[in-house]
């Protein structure tokens, strides 16, 4: 188990790859892009699909972006 843990830590796709703020920024950009394209506010599922992340992660990233000083900054990447 120790070895697997090391393996997963070093090589996991789950590994922290992007900063939370960057994700939040990409969400805002996708939101503007889609609003232009669709002529209306996109639904959360459309934003998630555009970025290839789960809907729930869109929510936690936005929470982080809104209150940068909050604990939620540590929530999403």
């Amino acid at each position: 188990v120790g070895e697997i843990r090391r393996f997963l830590r070093d090589d996991s796709p789950v590994k922290v790859s992007r900063s939370i703020k960057e994700t939040a920024y990409r969400i805002q950009q996708a939101r503007e892009r889609l609003t232009g394209k669709l002529g209306r506010e996109p639904a959360v599922g459309e934003v998630a699909a555009e970025l290839g992340i789960p809907r729930e992660e869109v929510v936690t990233a936005l929470e982080a972006a809104q209150s940068p000083a909050s604990i939620y900054e540590t929530l999403h990447q």
């Binding site: 809907r55 929510v59 929470e63 939620y72």
Partner: protein
């Protein structure tokens, strides 16, 4: 299709759980086609209701339990926030804009809930706890909007 997805949560009446409840309900609500703006509004409404349960219901004591339920049907989100705290003797008065029993507070919590959710119902009585039931339907969006434009 009239599927139902259900969530029930119970947590301590600690101020740090206001932020938790807000994100949890919004994450659950994200299964419906809400816009990001809708989700922000849901978060504010949930924050206000949960904060009320903690501050007014339990008088800021951390030993109470706040219950939050959420149900998703085909087209709608319903959220319930309940406490077993001191309750509200005069609900009609409590709902008035800028009414507060605490001179340091603004008395706008219920106003926010009512403006951000489609429907808000408050069940309470002195000593009997409080239940706030709120619902919201996603704005016309996605497939539906496309269908509307196509004239269906």
């Amino acid at each position: 299709m009239n599927t139902v997805n259900q969530l029930k949560m119970e947590f301590s009446s600690r101020p740090e759980n206001v932020a938790f409840a807000r994100v949890a309900v919004a994450a659950f609500a994200a299964q419906l086609d809400f816009t990001l703006n809708d989700l922000e509004e849901i978060k504010v409404a949930v924050s206000e209701a949960v904060a009320n349960a903690i501050i007014h219901g339990y008088g800021n004591s951390p030993d109470g339990i706040v219950r939050v339920g959420a149900v998703i049907t085909d087209r709608m989100l319903e959220v319930r926030v309940e406490d077993d705290g001191r309750g509200i003797a005069d609900v009609k008065r409590a709902l008035q804009p800028s009414f507060s029993t605490d001179p340091d507070r603004m008395g706008l919590g219920f106003v926010f809930m009512q403006s951000f959710m489609d429907r808000v119902q408050v069940e309470s009585a002195a000593g009997k706890g409080t239940r706030v039931i709120m619902s919201k339907v996603p704005e016309c969006s996605g497939a539906e909007a496309a269908a509307a434009r196509a004239g269906h």
